[in-house]
Structure formats: C-alpha cells, structure tokens
C-alpha cells in the first residue's frame, strides 16, 4: 500500500467499526476514499439531499440533527455518519454540520455496500444486519456459554518431563529442584506410534505415566528399591489424564473416580501441564457458591463483614469470565440475601424465637436479583396479623436493628430514605401493609408514589414468605386494572432521562451540554428498571427481576414487535457496563460507584451505550403515550 493511503488506513484502522474489519477489505475501502474540508458552521449533509457516501471524521467535529431539528449526535475524530440514510434509502435522514474546521473522508456507496456484505461486524454496526446493540449483547452471550471454565485455564506451566531411563534418585532431585510435586515419565518414540507427540524441537515422545511425591514413598522406599532403579520401572501401569477442553467440574470428578490428586492435562496427545487438586480447590473457593456456603458458617457480624473482600473478587472474576449482568446480579443478590438471612438467624439466637410469625421483606435491587457492588439496604418487616404492638414490637425493633446494623457493617449502607424495618412505618402487620398498597394503587398521586415506588419490587428473604406473597398477589391483582396508578407511576419514571451519548472526554446531553461524568444508575439503569416495572405491573406480572418481567411483557404483546428484545439488550448493556466500571474502580484502587468517566469508555462501548440510551429514550416516549395521565388529575 502506498504511503499516502497508509496515512488514511492507519487512521481508520484505529476506530470502530473499521478496527475489526480484515486488512484486505480495509485496503479496498481506503483506495476509494474521497476527501473534503469543511469550515466550522458549514453543512456537510443537508436533509433530504441524495446521499451516495458514508462520512468519516478525519479531524474536527460534526453534529447530526434529526428531522425535527433536535441534536441527534456529536461526533469527533473517527466518527461515521450517513450510514442510516445509506442503509435505508437514497436521501439524507440526519443532517450533518461541521462544528469545528473538519476534514471528512467520504466512502462511496459501493464500498459501503461491499463492507456490509463481506463483514457481519460492520453490517451489525451500521444496523444493516441486526440492531447493533442486540448484536453486541448476543456476542456477549455466546462468550457466556463458554463460561464453564475449561481445565486448561488452571494450567500454569508446562509439565516437568523425565526420561524413563533416569534413576529414581535423579527424578526425585529434578522434581525437588523444580519445586514440583510430580513429573511425567516419557521416552523417545517413533514418529508413527499412536501415542506419540512432537515436542517444540520436533522430536517425537511418548508419555508413559506420571510419578508423584507419594509414589516415591509407596513404590520406591516402602519396597526397598535402590536409588538407581530406572524411574520407568516404578510408574504405575494406569495413566489417568484429562483433555484440556474438559470442564473443571469434570476434572474434579475424574480425580475422585480414580483416586488421584495429580491430573495431567492433555491437548490431544500433547501434555500441557499437571493440575493438582489443591489448585482446583483454590480456584473453586473464589466462586459465589463457596462464598454463600461460608456465609452460613459465620457466627457473628464481624465474621460476615470479613467475607466482603471475597465478594468483590468474585465479581471481578465473573467479569473476567464474561458473565452477563443477570448472572452477576443474581450472584450478588444471593450473597446479600444469604447475609441477611444469616443475620436474622444470629438475631433470633440472641433475642429468642419470634413472638408471632414474620417475614423479612427486601425491596429494590435485592428483590429484583440485580444487586451491584454499590448497594444500600431497603427492607421491611411484614408481621402476622396476630401482632400486638405493645407486647411484640420491642422484639421486632431489636431484630430490625440487629439486621440493619449488621448489613451496614457488611457494606450495605443505611437507606437514605429510611426505608428499613427499623422505621416503625415499615414494620407492620400484613393488614396494614395491604392497606398501604391499596391506597398507593387506588388513590395514586405521582407525589405519593415518588417515594413508595420502591415497594413495587418486593421479595421475601426470611421467615413466613406467605406474608409477602399475599402482597405480591394483591399488586398483581389490582395494578393492571388501575389506569390512574399506572399513569402516575409512568410520570415518575420520566423524571430521569438518559444523555445523548459521548463526545471526546465528555458526556453529551440532549441540549448540547457536556458533562464530565455520568451516573449510569441514575441516568440509565434506574429509569430503565422503572419503565420495565410499569409494563410488568400493567400486564399483571408477578416477576421481580427485570429480565423475567420482560419475558412476561413479551408474552403480553403490550409493546410493538421487537421492542422487548431492544429493551432487553439495552438493559443488559447498561447493567454490564456499570458492573465493568465498578470492577475498573476496584482494579484502580477506588471505591466502586455508579459514575462513569468517558475516558474510561472504550470506543465500541461508547457506541453501544449510546444505542442503549436511545432505546431508553424512545421507550420513555412510548410510556408517556401508553399510560397518559387522565385529565382530572393533570
């Protein structure tokens, strides 16, 4: 490639989606590039003009506007525009204007089409294939299926190999020197043998077996063999190994079945390493299953709080393993619920058995199984209707206090809105709770619901769960019929809106303002959760988890075709993105929070986040239209 094209090619190759297309395709595109300079303030594409080229910002900045004249996007270096219009027709749908002196590369329609046809990543990105957010989430999900950890992941170094003719003493010396506890016994082989593998030097070898520390005791010393005995004579006749693509689970079973502690890991016939039972145990103890188990063995608050660093490393590992947000949210919620449950057990040990049945209820993210590393506590007590305040309340206050303080010690901060069982208002018998929900649903005002909408994600954690189920039944029964209630909830859900996207080191707002950070919870996840909740309430869903609610919403055909899938992808992306940024905070030694700094958002993620914001924004518009506030209260 000629030098002047290299200049262009290298630039384009740095930016999404060109960073992922194969070299020869990129070369073909660069060959046909046209160039044009635009002064700040001049139009690049005018609305409805014929369009034959994709625009690429080489330098400067470009703004796009929708037909209604609203700012649609602001692009910096490497941004592309015109693809929606090129993909869907022959006329410009979003006008483009240079807002700084800009140099624009134009890619002709023919090259654009060729790219879309030859490269599915590119087609997805410009949404000629699937909507790109859904494509991104789908790609993530595929990674997920691989999440069963392969045993090869636990192999840290190649195995020590000792020729069968070496003496046992020599073998023992070399194993000691290598700080190992086992070695493979090999001998030279002919190329054609079935068991032959070729080493990096091109020599053929055959694995005869394995010798481990205990073999020296059992097979050598106990039998009184001489140190000069060839090691090949003392290796067992059975060679147990595992293929590298088997799961860790399978490796454990294999060790148990065969009664061995060392397991050679093979790629076909090539030995990759030896895995010891202890490294599998070390690996497994980082999993949430192990963590939950150890929660129940803790005997005091301090012991529970001491587990919290492990909670963090569990999340870090899940992110590294490409878990999706639902798996992470569920793992964290399970941990949170287990801690709450354990605290209640400990409280009952201290305070004695409860005087009347109760159910400890959680609201918000824990109820939805969507906890993140940053969580406060939202909880309440639903008491049996046999509850008698003067006789029983002291017990339940002490119980609530014990749990609430314990949760705070474990990093679940006190609820700022005082929605906790320690608050008498939220420590009531079932009949009172039913009254609360009836009044919220029957006589809703947006103001009244503003602070109580958190109660519409609710789940039992401990105790007599029928008490909470009764409330869930009541909601599912009453909510769908009450338009006013849904309208009031909808109005509250529109209070928080997403930004437009990113521009250079800033968050772009719809009015063109630029901010330094974005609170991904407040501006993305919370409004998304809110609107999913409303549709779920409208269709009588009893699900609490947003994705489970989307399943029910999808069944109900409340939304247009494809909308539920879009919402699902957007929800997933917002959630996983927040999680990744919290892990980044941890890795960089900061306290994790919900804020995202644009400089920490890689190119591809920016595009996906922008799409997620767009989906959210459109869904909010639909909400307003679907659940209008009736005239009389407006």
């Amino acid at each position: 490639m000629e030098a002047e094209l290299l200049e262009i090619r290298q630039h384009m190759g740095r930016f999404t989606p060109f960073d992922r297309i194969p070299d020869d395709l990129l070369d073909a595109v660069v060959e046909q590039v046209e160039v044009s300079y635009f002064r700040a303030g001049s139009d690049i594409f005018e609305l409805d003009q014929p369009i034959d080229h994709l625009g690429y910002v080489r330098s400067g900045a470009v703004e796009l506007y929708s037909r209604s004249g609203n700012l649609y996007d602001r692009l910096g270096e490497g941004g592309i525009f015109g693809h929606f219009s090129l993909a869907r027709g022959k006329r410009v749908r979003f006008s483009a204007r240079a807002i700084e002196d800009s140099l624009i590369y134009f890619i002709p329609r023919a090259q654009f089409k060729a790219l879309c046809e030859a490269d599915s990543h590119f087609a997805d990105f410009v949404e000629l294939g699937r909507p790109r957010l859904e494509a991104a989430v789908e790609a993530q999900r595929k990674n997920n299926e691989m999440m069963v950890t392969r045993i090869r992941k636990l192999v840290t170094h190649p195995p020590l190999r000792i020729e069968s003719t070496a003496s046992v003493q020599e073998a023992a010396r070399r194993i000691t020197e290598a700080h190992a506890s086992a070695a493979l016994i090999v001998d030279r082989s002919s190329f054609d043998s079935r068991f032959t593998y070729i080493d990096p030097d091109g020599d053929p070898w055959r694995v005869l077996g394995i010798i481990t520390d205990s073999d020296f005791r059992v097979r050598v010393v106990a039998k009184g063999l001489s140190p000069d005995t060839p090691v090949g004579e003392v290796t067992g006749d059975r060679f147990v190994s595992i293929q590298s693509d088997e799961s860790v689970q399978e490796a454990i079973l294999c060790m148990l079945r065969n009664g061995v502690h060392h397991l050679p890991v093979m790629h076909r016939r090539q030995p990759l390493g030896i895995v010891h039972l202890s490294s599998i145990i070390r690996y497994e103890t980082k999993s949430s299953v192990y963590l939950v188990d150890s929660i129940y063995s803790r005997t005091d608050v301090a012991g529970l709080a001491a587990l919290m660093p492990e909670v963090k490393s569990t999340v870090v590992r899940m992110i590294e393993d490409d878990a999706d947000s639902r798996m992470i949210g569920s793992a964290l919620s399970t941990i949170g619920r287990s801690i709450t449950r354990r605290l209640l057990e400990l409280a009952e040990q201290e305070l004695g058995p409860p005087p009347v049945p109760y159910c400890f209820m959680v609201m918000g993210s824990m109820a939805r199984d969507e906890q993140s590393l940053v969580s406060d506590q939202d909880n309440a007590l639903v008491l049996s209707d046999d509850f008698n305040r003067t006789e029983h309340d002291a017990y339940f206050l002490a119980l609530a206090q014990y749990v609430s303080d314990g949760l705070a010690a474990c990093g679940y901060t006190y609820c700022k809105g005082d929605i906790m069982a320690t608050n008498q208002r939220w420590r009531q018998p079932l009949a009172v709770w039913k009254g609360y929900f009836r009044s919220w649903i029957d006589r809703p005002t947006p103001e009244a619901l503003l602070h109580s909408s958190v109660f519409f994600d609710l789940d039992s954690v401990y105790g007599d769960n029928r008490l909470v189920e009764a409330l869930q039944d009541l909601i599912a029964e009453k909510a769908p019929k009450n338009e006013l209630f849904l309208a009031a909830m909808a109005r509250n859900a529109l209070g928080r809106t997403p930004p437009l996207g990113f521009f250079r080191g800033f968050v772009m707002e719809k009015d063109g303002q630029q901010n330094n950070t974005i609170n991904l919870k407040r501006r993305g996840l919370a409004p998304m959760t809110d609107l999913i909740r409303i549709h779920a309430l409208a269709c009588g869903s009893r699900a609490q988890n947003s994705f489970a609610r989307l399943d029910d919403i999808g069944q109900s055909q409340l939304l247009g075709p494809g909308v539920e899938a879009k919402l699902r992808a957007a929800m997933e992306f917002l959630a996983i993105s927040r999680c990744r940024h919290q892990v980044l905070d941890l890795e960089q030694g900061r306290e994790p929070d919900n804020r995202v700094e644009p400089d920490n958002v890689p190119d591809a993620e920016r595009h996906n986040l922008k799409d997620a914001f767009q989906v959210l924004s459109n869904a909010q518009k639909f909400l307003k239209f679907r659940y209008p506030l009736p005239e009389r209260t407006a």
């Binding site: 002047e4 200049e7 044009s36 002196d101 134009f106």
Partner: protein, 240 residues
Amino acid sequence: MRLRSRRTEDYEEWQRYVAERARTTRSPALKRFYDTALPAPDTAIAEVPLMSLDIETTGLNPQRDAIVSIGLVPFTSRRIHLARRRYWIIHPECALNSRSVTLHHITHADIEQAPHFSAILPELLDAMSGYLPVVHYRAIERSFLDRAVTDALGEPFAFPTIDTMAIEAQRYRSSLWARWRGRLGRSPVSIRLHDSRVRYHLPYYQAHHALVDALATAELLQAQIATHFRPDTPVRTFCT
C-alpha cells in the same frame, strides 16, 4: 485594488502564453495540455477541475538535481478524488545521494527499476490535461519540470498554477496585520505546507512523499477557499 488588477494581468498574460504555445509546439502531448490549460477567467473556482501536483527531487538545484517522484491528485473545491491519483517513481538523471534517500523513503532498488522521465512524460501530460495545476511553492515544481521537459523534448515548459504558498504569503505576510507584526519585530508566520495546514486545523501528515504532499496541498487549497473566498470567486483571482 492593486493586487486584483495585477492578478487579472497575470491571467491575461498566461492566456496569451498558453494560446501561443498550443499553436507553436511540436509535441502533440504538450499541445493537448496547452489546449485545455486555462478556463475562462471568470469561471467560478468551484467549477474548475484542479490537479494537485507535487514532485520530490534529489536536491534544490534544478541544474544539478533531478526529479525522483511525481504525485498527482485530481480535485475540486468540493471533493478530492483520491481514487484517481497518479504516482510515478522516476530514474533520476543524476546520482541519488543518501540524504535524499532517507528523506523520500525511495531506495536505490526502487530507482533501479524506475523509468526515465522522458518515458512517463506523455502519460504525465495526459493526466494533467484539462486540469489547472495546484502546487505549494510553484518555483520548485515549475523549474524542475521545465528543466526535465526541456531535456526530453527540447522545448521549455511553463504553466499557470494556483500556489497555496502564495495565497498564504498574501494573507499572512503582505496583509496590513502582517506588516504591523513585522514592525513590532515579530518573526513572520511560517508559510510552509505543514505550518499552513495547522492554521486551518488540518491534520498532521507524514511529509516528503509526493502523493501525501499533493493530497495535503489539495486539502489546504480547499481550506483556503472555504476560509478566505467564496465558491463563485473567479479563477483568475487565484492564478499565478
């Protein structure tokens, strides 16, 4: 305005020269070039087919040094048509010294297989025909091409150009502002290709490749037109 009238005279002078050469030249390729060398003086600059031209040489003296590469990029004030670019490496008529090798990234091996200037001249003139040449610093391109054409055809080769450096000089060196700046003892602003581009927020390109420089010059002229002129400014205003 003194300057405009001088430009108009320049243009009329070029029209006379070009017509004369078209009539008298013995070379068919030169005749084709001169036949289409100049548009009507009042043609809007936006309508004029332009050809950015850059040469790399072994040194600065046209009597002693020679051309090693030529880059052409056709464009208009609206679009640069990179796909129709042309580029030649040329076997220089003098020895290639090591300094110019490192400067152009053209090696002795490249040169070994390259054609002589006379072999590519008809192609070069054909490619330039119908376009108004655009250069940054016309003295170099004109003098080296004149020398090379004279050697090849026995005829001189002069041609009108738009010189982006002259436009910069006029804007930033001979303006009232520039003269005040001079009186205050400030050094004059640089009108070299890269420094000029920076003033228009054009990106940095690796220089010293004939095609990169031709592209860079085309972009600079687009920026100058967008900044200082209008699409309907007559071509004679630019031509020198």
